[in-house]
């Protein structure tokens, strides 16, 4: 196992903990975006560039956007 893979694994493990520990959904969306990016890097070190492409586009762009939009709708009803 190369050092790059080990480093990527550590970052992903810490990232998963950070996503769960961020209790406020707004902060969680941003952390989830970073988590998607780190997953992409991990997949890239595992010799899977197309899976990394998928993960980066979805995890860093599409999913946080959907979360933020749903959040806007929810807190909209609060006020």
């Amino acid at each position: 196992m190369t050092a790059l893979q080990v480093a990527a694994l550590v970052v992903v493990a810490v990232g998963a903990l950070a996503v769960v520990a961020a209790r406020d959904p707004l902060r969680q969306a941003i952390v989830a975006s970073f988590y998607g990016l780190s997953l992409g890097v991990l997949f890239f070190t595992f010799a899977a560039p197309d899976v990394a492409l998928s993960s980066i586009v979805i995890g860093s762009v599409a999913l946080p956007t959907i979360i933020l939009l749903a959040l806007a709708k929810i807190s909209d009803r609060d006020s």
Partner: protein, 114 residues
């Protein structure tokens, strides 16, 4: 050391599950669920990896070089995209839950109430 990817996959699974069990906000719950899903991607890719293997794309390398397993990569690929759509569906459900019940706390939502 060679067990590390599987150990990290187990760790991510359990961390996400902890988030789901102890969540106080439905949206936080859904995002933790997507974290649990991502642990399976790591597990699949970890199983199919071959040391010093290249990606299974032979455009500029001769077709007999050692490559990683393509089947798990294909599976994970479609999984990532479809999993995001299902997460979006769950988020739509939480938006509707807020509209109908006014609260997003799983402890307050009682299935037998009104």
């Amino acid at each position: 050391m060679s067990f590390a990817p599987y150990a990290v996959a187990i760790w991510i699974f359990l961390v996400g599950l902890y988030g789901v069990v102890t969540s106080r906000h439905l949206m936080h719950l859904v995002i933790c669920l997507s974290v649990v899903q991502s642990s399976t991607y790591l597990l699949l890719l970890g199983i199919g990896y071959r040391t010093d293997g290249a990606a299974s794309i032979f455009v500029d390398i001769p077709p007999n070089t050692k490559a990683v397993d393509p089947v798990v990569k294909a599976l994970t690929l479609t999984d990532v995209v479809v999993g995001a759509a299902v997460t979006a569906l769950l988020l739509a459900l939480t938006v509707q839950a807020k509209k109908r019940f006014g609260t997003l706390d799983p402890d307050e939502l009682d299935p037998l109430r009104d």
